[in-house]
Every structure is written in structure tokens, then in C-alpha cells.
Amino acid sequence: MFKTLAFLLAATTPHFGAPADPNLVKAWDRSIPPDGTGLPPGKGSVSEGLAIYTEKCVMCHGVNGVGKPADQLTGGVGSLATANPVKTVSSFWPYATTLFDYIRRAMPVTSPHSLSDHEAYALTAYILSIDGIVKKDAVLDAKSLPKVKMPNRDGFIDAYGATKR
């Protein structure tokens, strides 16, 4: 009798989690991996992005994304192996999906989650257009965004080795 009970106690875990509310999962699951899974409907153009940038971003990130007081977004492409590396979205970030993801979850810093998906696409397009990573007439959406090749796409080494498992 005791033996059976001890076995049950050892083998069972509490299971106090409730089935996840699908609406909660949908609302929170906004992370976008490099293959673009989960990108929302909608689209945004470079010119629309410039207008939004001028209204909501330029005060921190500067004209053309030159930075100060917030991070420098543009420039520095090709500088990483020099004596004066300049790490920016353009020069360093390996995936365009990360830019969309971060804008949508954390920007602008005073009111995160205030931008629409449309605005996040447009801002991503505009920022990537400054150094010519996308063309001036580019429109980004769920299909085109993951296809953008960032200049430093192959600049990272998996130091831990877990991506190969």
C-alpha cells in the first residue's frame, strides 16, 4: 500500500496549468523568427515609413537614422572588420524580421504596442531603404520581408553549437 503511494507521489507532477486561452496565445505570440512565421497581414511602403518615422522616431534616432540620443540605425556597412567598426541595423543586424519584431514590440519607447502592423511594415521598409538594403519603392509584407537579405546575414558564428542539434 505504502509502496504504491510512494510510487504515485514520485511519478506524478501537479498539472496545475489550465489549457491556454487561444485568444491569449494569439495576442501575445508576436515574436517573428527569420523564416517569417507569424508575420501578420498588411503591408507598408518606404514612403509611408518616412512619414511615420518623421512623426514618431526622428526625435530619438535622428534624420536618416544617424542616431543620438538613441541607437544609430544606419551607416557603417562594411566597417565591421576595420579599426572603427560601426554597428547599426544596416551594418550588423542579420535578419530583417528582427527589425519588424522589435519595432512592433518595443517602439516607440514612450508607447510600445501603439503602432499598427501596417506602420511596423512601413517603418521597416523605410529604415532598410536608407542604405539601399531595399529599393526606394519597396513595399514589405509577410511574403517579402523574410526574403530581405541583410548585409551581415552571414556574419555570425554559433559559439555554443545548439543550432546544429
Partner: protein, 411 residues
Amino acid sequence: MTNKIAPSRRKFLTTALAGAGAAATVPLAAKADEYITPSMTVPGKAFTPYGMPSGHEDVKRLLRPPGISPGTGGSLSPIESLEGMITPSGLHFERHHNGVPDIDIKAHKFLIHGLVDKPLEFTIASLDRYPRISRMHFVECGGNSGANAGAPEPPQLTAGGIHGLISCSEWTGVKLGMLLDEAGVKPEGKWILAESADSAGMSRSIPLKEAHEQGILVLFQNGERIRPEQGYPLRLLMPGWEGNLNVKWLHRIKVTAGPTMTKDETSKYTQSLKNGKANQFNFIQPPKSIITKPSGMMTMNGPGYYEISGITWSGHGKIAKVEISFDGGSTWTDAEMPGPVFPQCVTRFRLPWEWDGKPLLLQSRATDEKGNVQPTRAVWKDRVSPVQFYQYNAIQTWQIGADNTVKNYYV
């Protein structure tokens, strides 16, 4: 306040009595009275619901100028003023990406979803019903000690001002692996994404195997509910891993096939090398040791006896050895580690020392149980990009002068 007023009042009363003639007639008693301190003669203060340090103490976190929002940036633990191995919860360093959120413990929800059989949601009340474990572990920001990595001239700061993004606590919580098992991870699930409920949406990817084996969902810090600055009401702890991975204000874990490549694991917290490439997923904090006594900005008391003391830790396991050099790294002497020595935990080292008053270069060098050794600054700098500052663990040098000064120094 009463505490501060009482001594002067008492002194005044004593003097008044003495003036009235008591001292003149009984001089011995009056003289003895001078040695009776106010604390011996006045009833002490009443009980308090939550104790605070003495009003005579002024040990505080060092606040860095804020970044783009008031809560963006960090505050440093004053390690030069602390002892032992545990950091008081109110002095644990802070690193936030958009401030400390105010989260209602009753409303907070924690989600496990993605590549699982049964997506689950938990309240803190439901997590509180799980079996708990308690562990003592350090948390160190990946950017700790970066001041010495970047500045061409050694910045003249305190030990905490340079290296204060390290703290150590007793953490209590639930094993993440147990909850992942309850959700049932699908075979294609190889990574997790851990996400914060803060306004930066701080999120990091961690390999599933290690998250399952080592991850702790922390509910308590040093015996009480985890502090807001440390992730109240729920934090992920990956013992010994880079601070940024220990996601605070945790509200979501998504099981994924690969890393999500978030902002903080690509553009930040990667290690840029000289050839322009960057090492990514530098999960484990390398060994480090810092002599906190004596340390930068302190003043020596002239020649004579000192106890050298400091803190050491490694994300790879226990600290095996700390050595002290008095000559800038030419010769080394083993320091004492009286214990306890726990894995992925701050360990205190000590060494009695007689200073002859001559100038010298004081250093400590840690070796962990896996054989990892702290490098010199030159060796560390040699492999990385000039702008690289994450995971700087080079040997710290304090220059002690004949004028009793203690300065930060590059050998």
C-alpha cells in the same frame, strides 16, 4: 529621527546635571558617566514591520545616467562595500531595457505554448502549488566590467562602478523542466523563446535541453517574493548564464524549432571579433574575480596589516582557485576560500597581508573547476573587435601607491 536626536539631548542633560554640582562633589562618578553611551540609557526604538539598514549607513546602488527612457540602462551593486557572498535584495544590480513594470501578482499569467502537445497557462497562485527548489546563484550582466574593455585609459571608479553588474542571491522557484513536461514538448521542439511582460518585450532564445535541465522559474529571492527590479512576480533563472537570458517579468515561453533571433541575441549580447564576425549564443559567463578590499578610490591606512578580500564566480561551475599577485602578474600566491563554494555562485576569497608601504600592482586570477582561467586584459582584447565589451572577464589590476591611493590600472 528619534535615534539621531537622542544622543545630543542626552549629552545636554548630562552636562546640565554636572553643571548643577554633581560632578564637583563626585568627580569619579561623573567621569564614568561619560562612558555610558546614550544607547545604554534610552529605551530603543519600537518594532518595525520591515527592517531597514541603520540610518548611519549610506551604502547604495550606483545609478548610471539613464538612457532613452528613465528606466533604460542600469544601476550597479556597490560590491566594494558588501561582504560575504549574498547581495542584499535592495542592492542587487539592475539592468532594464525600458524600466521596471508594475505587475499585479494576482493578474499575472504565464504561458507555455508553441511546439507542445498541450499549451498551458498558469497563474502565480497555481505555480505556488508546485514543489520548489532553492539555489544560491549569481546573476551577472553580459555587459559587466565593460568600462575596462572599452576605455583606452583606465576609468577611475570604485570596484562597483566598474564591475557592479554582478549580484548573488538565494533563488527559490519551480523547475522549468517539470512544466515543459506537463505541456509535452513535441520532438521538433529544440529551443525556447522566453519573453518578458515589460514594455521592451525583452525576449531571448535558449536551447530546449539546457532550459529543461537547468531552468528555474523563480518566485522568491533571498526568502521573500522576488523584487520588482529582479522580475516580480516571475523570473527565468539559467544558473551561470548571461544575465540577459534570465528573463525578468516572465510571461511567455514558446517552444520553437530554432532560435527566434531576437534583437537582444543578434544586435546586442553577441561578441564581435577582430575579423568582423561575431560570436553568437555566448551563454555561459566566464570565470572572474575582483578584489573588493582594497579597491579603486579607496585610501590605504599606510603600512601594516590588511585582509585582502574579494568575490569570484564562474558560469561553468565551482571556483577551483583564486591567486593573488602583488607584482602585476609575475608571481602568484593562492588566496583562501573559506567557503561555502557553490557552483555558479559568488565565492568569497581572502588573504592576510602585511603591506610595507611600497607601490605595487595588486591582481587576482580565478580558475574554475573546468579549468577556465581569467585572461589578462591584453589577451582578452587581442581576440575581439575594438568596440566589443560583452563578457569582459580580464584580470583586474589595482595600483596601490606609496601615497595610499588605490587606482584602476591596465598592465
